[in-house]
Amino acid sequence: MKAFSYTAAVKLIFGDRQIKLLGDKYNGTSDINVASREFDDYNNCLISCKNFMDTLKDGINADQPGPIYIVSSEVNPVYNNDEPALSKDWAMGEISRLWIFDEAMQKTGAIRAVGQARLYATDEPRAVRITN
């Protein structure tokens, strides 16, 4: 039985400018990193991860007047009929990645990402692995 989970890392400080996603509650935060629980179903894992990235992307766009950030994704070629992907450093069990990046940079080919999420599959859920 497979289990699915994700990790995500988002930068909240661009140069001298700090994004205030939470008002002053977490004043001074420059990076946020999370690790999800395990999901039985890949789609639910993806929905949760997309929700996380979309919410942060909306917060970033609302707080700063600069470039518009969007969420985009790519799938590990191993899980996608060898369709090419920009990333080359896929980890074992990594299915897909979501990025938050500057929309305008997409057209130049240089991706300026401020957030990355990675979705993984494991053969055994965490609870089973611990029991073993």
Binding site: L22, K25, N27, G28, S30, D31, I32, F39, N51
Partner: protein, 152 residues
Amino acid sequence: MITSPTSCFYMIKAEGEAAASMLVDLVPGCASDIDAVILLSSDFDSDISAINSLDATVKHIKDQTYLVDAEVKEEYNPLYFQSDMQKIDDAMMLDASTGGFRFTAMRGNAYALKTVEVMDGDTLLISAKIEYRPFDFPAYSEIVASNQTLLN
């Protein structure tokens, strides 16, 4: 006592329900799906500001969670505060291989200024630390000299 010439930053790690509670305002749609969260601060030129900011953040997390009454353990690195010499000596150990000394505080991380742990019983739910950016440590004699109290 050492006065760091570098800036400092803090890191907070929350796990389990503490992580979800911490994120419920930020990502309400998926906060309950998060098992662990790490917040990294930007750099502070003032360590007092870093301490105040960390304390305010930990208090905020505690206030909005079931952790209100949880035990908070705070520890300060005696190397960076006016302390009696015994505490400073306890924070260092002679290293026979080099003939010098090495720092044992805090848990071997001499750049750590302060650590905070929030426990729920035996379970560690929030751990945090303030850490200086690396710098060259002064000699033992300088640390001692800067910590001496002049006698009248």
